[in-house]
């Protein structure tokens, strides 16, 4: 562990910026970088299926989980992940059954999640500041356990996204033809939904529950305006996600705003710039 610690410190000592000397910033930067590459890797399949808002629905349910954690006096991280997974499965099943339209299913989960969360928060008499850190993220709140959890989730989710990329592409591009090719469509849809849920649950400390789903979708939405293939969009979104997350945390340090807000604003700036650039290229 000494070697790891000295490597960690050695790495940060090479950083020329003054924020690098703060331990909380080092942790926040690493956590944000992990969020930045992981979220778009799973989000791209949601965008492909035109389910961009699914992540937001899961985030709202995760809020109920956080509140339940406070009420039960356990780790909100655990209850949030459990709630997020249940929410993701609920959305996926409602969508698959076809009885409820996809957007109506999402609306039910959105409002239900926030209302149940607010109710449980009220019952547990949690302070408003504490709630805000979960909604929008908080640099100071990232501890070593969060980083290890984020690292574990990143490895698993990136592994799934890369290893199963071809078959996940086929399913999200054309579910019916994938099914007619004998691909286990339902299982794979659930894999994507659960991977999104775990990503959201683990990364909420940095970006916040309300904004984490922006990182699933916005880097993909920005990059896809400039790319011609799925693979290029995939690689580009991961790169852009990484840059935006790190830049967002740094901005958050200087302007003293929640990191979730600065990261997502950065993603939106990237989206607008990509639109302008794509339009300019189209005209020329």
């Amino acid at each position: 562990m000494d070697i790891l610690a000295s490597a960690w410190n050695g790495f940060w000592d090479t950083c020329p910026f003054d924020f690098c000397q703060w331990d909380f910033m080092r942790k926040a930067l690493v956590a944000a970088a992990l969020v930045g590459v992981t979220a778009p890797a799973i989000g791209i399949f949601l965008v492909q299926r035109r389910l961009s808002l699914m992540g937001d629905g899961i985030g709202h349910v995760a809020f109920t989980g956080v509140a339940a954690g406070f009420l039960l006096d356990t780790l909100p991280l655990i209850t949030a992940i459990v709630a997020a997974i249940l929410g993701a499965l609920a959305i996926e099943l409602m969508r698959e059954r076809g009885r409820t339209e996809g957007d109506v299913a999402l609306a039910v989960v959105f409002y239900g999640g926030i209302a149940a969360g607010a109710l449980l928060m009220g019952l547990s008499e949690t302070s408003n500041t504490n709630i805000l850190t979960y909604l929008f993220g908080e640099l100071l709140s990232v501890d070593q356990a969060d980083i290890l959890a984020a690292l574990g989730v990143s490895v698993v989710v990136l592994g799934i996204a890369m290893l199963l990329r071809r078959v996940l592409f086929a399913v999200s591009y054309d579910e019916e033809v994938a099914r007619a090719s004998g691909v286990p469509v339902r299982t794979l849809n659930i894999v994507v939904a659960v991977a999104a849920a775990i990503t959201i649950g683990v990364t909420m400390r940095v970006v916040g529950i309300l904004l984490v789903s922006g990182m699933l979708v916005l880097p993909v939405a920005a990059v896809q305006q400039l790319t011609r293939s799925f693979n290029a969009t995939f690689v580009g979104s991961l790169g852009l996600g990484l840059m935006i997350s790190v830049a967002g945390v740094v901005t958050s340090y200087y302007v003293d705003a929640p990191p979730g807000a600065t990261i997502v604003m950065g993603a939106i700036v990237a989206f607008v710039l990509a639109s302008v650039f794509a339009r300019a290229r189209g005209v020329v």
């Binding site: 071809r166 078959v167 591009y173 019916e176 090719s181 293939s229």
Partner: protein, 242 residues
């Protein structure tokens, strides 16, 4: 065969023989698409029996032997994908599903694109292609699995005459190569010379099954005098799908 609350197909007896070119005709709502989806196991049968290449549907696993081109307005999607990527998706029934594609996959994709004359468009985004070109990409995707049977749902709808003719030429070539073709259409149109058998569906029932007749050109196929003829029943020694 039930679909939603209404019975979509009833009393349908259908066998597809090897190397046949069958056109499934009928007006809107006659059950053509439902029948094709039932044959592919995409909608459940409420009653009856379905064998694919001689195997009951539940136990059938060789999905690569069937290439399916669904009825679709466009091949565009949420995230841009190029022609190669879309056609490669058609290999999943034949090759491994994880990791990168193999050389065999790339070769099959290339062969499929050659058959539909789209090799030079390999790196293009499908969204930027014309309707006819997108249709050919979806056919190439079905061909990439090297199927024995090709099932196409209204492949010529919304495609201009020139592309309809080139599509017919491609299908004719595939059929001569020994593949069976089952094609859903409103009317025979440009594919007429290729068709070896026509099946007419009217309100979920087979009202004609036999040699294609010139009169079937007529869009009012359900008024055809032959529609009173009872459906033919085929024995299935060759074990064709369906």
């Amino acid at each position: 065969m039930k679909y939603g609350a209404t019975v979509a197909l009833r009393d349908v007896h259908f066998h597809l023989e090897p190397a046949e070119f069958v056109v499934l005709l009928g007006s809107n709502g006659s059950g053509k698409t439902t029948m094709v989806k039932a044959l592919l196991g995409l909608v459940p049968l409420t009653r009856g029996r379905l064998e694919v290449f001689g195997t009951p549907l539940q136990r059938f696993r060789e999905w690569g032997r069937i290439g399916y081109v669904p009825q679709r307005a466009s091949a565009a999607s949420g995230v841009p994908a190029n022609v190669f990527e879309v056609v490669l998706a058609g290999r999943l029934a034949r090759s491994r599903r994880w990791g990168l594609h193999t050389k065999d996959d790339a070769r099959a994709v290339n062969n499929a694109l050659e058959l539909v004359d789209m090799v030079d468009k390999e790196k293009e985004t499908v969204d930027n292609l014309s309707g006819g070109q997108q249709q050919r990409v979806l056919i190439a995707r079905a061909l990439a699995g090297e199927p024995d049977v090709l099932v196409l749902d209204e492949p010529v709808s919304g495609v201009d005459l020139e592309h309809q003719e080139s599509l017919a030429a491609t299908l004719g070539e595939l059929n001569r190569g020994g593949r069976s073709v089952l094609l859903v259409a409103h009317a025979l149109g440009v594919i007429e010379p290729l068709v070896t058998r026509a099946v007419v569906l009217t309100q979920g029932e087979v009202t004609y099954d036999g040699k294609p007749l010139h009169e079937l050109h007529d869009s009012h196929v359900h008024h055809h005098p032959y529609s009173v003829e009872p459906p033919r029943r085929f024995s299935n020694p060759a074990g064709g799908p369906g």
